[in-house]
């Protein structure tokens, strides 16, 4: 069954949870599960993409609704989309981490007046340090952020962690928690008005779960 809506579904860590949710809503996901490389599933009204692209497709109306992490929404806070529901799954934490032993962040601030932070989330990192009254130089990286403090590129990192295992394996520890993130249901602002019935039907069914 299709919902009469186009739904943006994130591949990656939220993929399983998102498909389970759609199953529970009676939306056919078998084809999506069995097809690793296809991106567009017209019969089911599903498009798959990386989580950070979901707000883009939803804002432009290429998808009516979508599922993505709160971390993505915080990083792209300028996106004009409705945040309708906290879906509860995909729980993880946005944290500041630094090398175990010593206090590299505190000592950089004390002696150099600023701290260097590597992250894939430059807006969240910048906001967090400026809101806590500390001067930070944000270094944006695309790959494994854990590498940056180990090589002396930065004093600490801002990153998402679910279990903390990767941090620990690289000799890093969490020093501050910025935000807890879970999956969210978002909607295009025009679809929210013009397809109100279909969207409300989904919201009601998720709430009743």
């Amino acid at each position: 069954m299709s919902s009469g809506l186009t739904i943006a579904v994130p591949r990656g860590a939220l993929f399983g949870g998102a498909l389970d949710l759609l199953d529970a809503l009676g939306i056919e996901t078998g084809e999506v599960r069995s097809n690793d490389r296809r991106l567009l599933f017209e019969d089911a009204g599903i498009v798959t993409m990386r989580p950070s692209d979901v707000p883009t497709y939803v804002e432009h109306g290429s998808a009516d609704i979508g599922i993505t992490g709160k971390d993505v929404l915080l990083e792209q806070s300028h996106r004009n989309v409705y945040e309708l529901l906290d879906l509860g799954f995909g729980r993880c934490r946005m944290v500041v981490a630094a090398a175990e032993g010593g206090d590299p962040i505190g000592s950089a601030l004390r002696r150099l007046g600023r701290v260097r932070i590597a992250t894939k989330y430059p807006r969240i990192a910048d906001r967090h340090f400026s809101q806590t009254g500390r001067q930070a130089e944000i270094v944006e990286v695309k790959g494994s952020v854990e590498l940056a403090p180990l090589t002396g590129l930065v004093d600490g990192i801002v990153d998402l962690t679910a279990t903390g295992t990767t941090l620990a394996e690289n000799g890093l520890r969490v020093v501050e928690e910025i935000e807890v993130s879970t999956a969210r249901l978002i909607a295009n602002p025009v679809a929210h008005k013009l397809k109100a019935e279909q969207i409300d039907a989904i919201v009601e069914r998720v709430r009743a779960r």
């Binding site: 804002e59 432009h60 109306g61 290429s62 300028h78 004009n80 989309v81 409705y82 945040e83 309708l84 529901l85 906290d86 969210r184 295009n188 602002p189 025009v190 679809a191 929210h192 008005k193 013009l194 109100a196 019935e197 409300d200 919201v203």
Partner: protein, 337 residues
């Protein structure tokens, strides 16, 4: 190192001369279509008695600030030879309010004006976001609610019909509704801001979180605060909103009756969660949609206090459409068939 040779399949070396971010050049094919659309909208407005006006692109910054504090905020500014601060206007509503108070100071209302003019806004958005907009709109000065709203909405719908759109709808809400609900429920004033900010950011999850932290309200009241922004649709949503918001909704009911008389009620979506960012709106607010595109085509509302700030207190309301977005919607509708 050898220079790459340009040839078949190779782009020519860059010789582009830049223009400021958010601006663009319009070439003849597009210009012809934009002209056709604005021409048909203009004819609709003029036949209804709305004379076209033009005002300077540059205004004194403090004049814009008198209209709305934020309208004079982050934007393009310059100085004249006297050292006065000039700013590019961010909409046409404030300049027309100035015109009405100074050039029509003795003329009895109602006054009707339309315009097709550029406005400039600085955005914090990504690359390529427009900062220069061609707006086509109208202002109706004199009539109060709901007669003014009904006329503006009917004309907006007619102008978009003339522009070639078929599926457009106008969302209508009341910008003061949520604030009044908070007051009616005795929510302490210092708690209002976070709730209104969530509403304006369309963050309904944040809204629910802030509402559940309001200790001194009943469960029914909290339900009302969370569910109000979800009420949108035809006249039936006005029936569902009662209790403390009944008064505000009464105004929208009266508007619905007038729209039904004008035969356009089915083109309007009542949206009790609708808010507009500009601070001068005092009552009804509008937003224009087309299902073929994912963004609003324009918006407007009632601004009964604005003209008073320029020395002539008169009720007024208006609408501004982004002509380029109307064009995009028209092209998308055409493609859908």
């Amino acid at each position: 190192m050898r220079k790459p040779r340009s040839g078949a399949g190779q782009p020519a070396p860059s010789r582009t001369t830049p223009i400021p971010p958010g601006t663009r050049d319009v070439l003849p094919d597009e210009m012809r279509e934009l002209r056709a659309i604005s021409g048909r909208m203009r004819t609709t407005f003029e036949q209804a008695g709305y004379g076209e006006v033009h005002t300077p692109a540059l205004e004194y910054e403090d004049v814009l600030r008198r209209g709305e504090e934020r309208a004079a905020g982050a934007r393009y500014r310059t100085f004249d030879e006297q050292g006065a601060v000039l700013a590019l206007r961010s909409d046409m509503t404030i300049p027309i309010a100035r015109v009405v108070a100074t050039r029509y100071a003795e003329v009895d209302p109602p006054l009707r004006f339309c315009y097709f003019a550029h406005a400039w806004r600085a955005t914090e958005r990504g690359v390529g976001e427009p900062r220069e907009f061609l707006q086509g709109g109208l202002e109706l000065i004199g009539p109060s609610a709901p007669e003014g709203e009904a006329e503006v909405l009917e004309l907006t719908i007619a102008a978009l019909d003339a522009a070639g759109l078929r599926r457009h709808r106008v969302g209508v809400g009341d910008g003061s509704l949520y604030r009044r609900l908070l007051e009616a429920l005795d929510v302490p004033a210092e708690r209002h801001m976070p709730l209104l900010e969530c509403l304006s950011r369309r963050d309904l999850v944040g809204l629910e979180t802030h509402v559940s932290a309001l200790g001194e309200t009943s469960e029914r009241e909290r339900e009302l605060l969370v569910r109000l922004p979800e009420l949108r649709g035809g006249r039936e949503v006005l029936e569902r909103a009662d209790g403390p918001v009944a008064d505000a909704v009464q105004g929208l009911r009266a508007l619905h009756e007038l729209l039904a008389e004008r035969g356009v009620a089915d083109r309007v979506i009542f949206d009790l969660g609708l808010v507009r960012e500009l601070g001068y709106y005092t009552g009804a607010v509008f937003e224009v949609y087309d299902p073929a595109v994912g963004f609003a085509l324009g918006g407007g509302g009632r601004y009964d206090d604005l003209l008073g700030r320029f020395g002539r207190a008169l009720p007024a309301c208006g609408m501004a459409l982004d002509v380029k977005r109307v064009h995009m919607a028209q092209a998308a509708e055409e493609a859908l068939g």
